[in-house]
Point group: C2
Chain length 175, copies 2
DNA sequence: TGTACATCAGTGAACGCGCGTTCACTGATGTAC
DNA sequence: TGTACATCAGTGAACGCGCGTTCACTGATGTAC
């Protein structure tokens, strides 16, 4: 069950991550931004690590939903991969804290494992597409492709809108 | 001019980064590992940030040398790109702290800018190759390719030796 | 050769600081009778 | 309707801790005379 203060803390965390990255995301900063007392943080989260994990979870769950929605009913293959990629990139343009979640997160031991699992999930989906496309090393290619698309998301962030050069740059690797 | 204690501190830093990542790379840990007094650290480095930058610089300079050596006299194109890639992956297998430098480093504000520049350097080289190969978006493709190869380096670290599946997985994107 | 001084890497105790975390307490809301 | 009690999100001062950094000092080495 969602709780307003719980969500307010996550919202504040995401806003701060968007602006300053994960490394400055202290409990102090979060409670200040959410305008609650420090103790309130621990009413809703066991510790800082649990908060970071929840933040990442929320981010990932949303993207995953968007992608699965987009590729629903499509058979594995190049088209599904491209549509999933577009959904992912569009989704990133509409989310806060993308850079923090995709990059800074790797250096945070607290959520490094979560990130590994997230990438594995997306890789597993993409692997089916590479397999259907007849590639020789679908597992490896999928994992490499996923990080490429994550980088593409970062590149698009710089202008804040879909970037034809970036997207065609990604798809060129599939030909 | 190299100084033994200066190098000992960097060596210790690299060893620690290899084992535990950048986030636990405190001045305390470094001086303990190098078996010098805490004050000695500040004889050789202005502050922790300067140390991290020096660590990254050393890592990058070595890899860059190896790559430039390997592709010397080759004209831009697919072959040069592949040979440079192999040199990079082989180089990573022989360096310490690869994972720390390629991944954790993004979350460390201190060296994030340095990482940006390193990737830009490698991207510029690779862009000439994509250009020569006649790709439509050489700049974007190069940047995407660079992060893909960095991920491939991490994948190879898991087994500690060249991985045919990984390397062919990378090259498959060039066909 | 011996003495005085300069240099400078190295030392480690001490410092202030911000962090994550705790906990006794408050106060609003709901429930029992 | 009024009173007593339970619940629980919220509070914020206080805590210990490890961090990065400082600085007066040491001691070995080199130089001058």
């Amino acid at each position: 069950m969602p709780h307003p203060t719980h969500d307010a803390l996550l919202d504040a965390g995401l806003r701060l991550a968007e602006q300053h990255g994960l490394s400055t995301l202290s409990v102090n900063a979060v409670v200040a931004a959410a305008e609650v007392a420090k103790g309130t943080f621990y009413v809703h989260f066991q510790d800082r690590t649990a908060f970071l994990v929840a933040l990442h979870q929320r981010f990932h769950d949303h993207l995953k939903t968007v992608i699965l929605e987009a590729i629903r009913d499509l058979p594995p293959g190049r088209q599904r991969l491209q549509i999933g990629t577009i959904a992912y990139l569009d989704g990133c343009l509409h989310e806060l804290g993308v850079k923090a979640m995709l990059f800074d997160s790797r250096g945070e031991p607290a959520i490094a494992e979560q990130v590994r699992r997230r990438n594995a999930e997306f890789s597993a989906i993409a692997a089916a597409d590479f397999e259907a496309m007849g590639w020789d090393h679908p597992t490896q290619s999928a994992r490499l492709y996923i990080v490429m698309v994550a980088e593409a998301a970062i590149m698009e962030l710089e202008s804040g809108q879909p970037d034809r050069g970036v997207r065609n740059g990604v798809f060129a690797f599939l030909d």
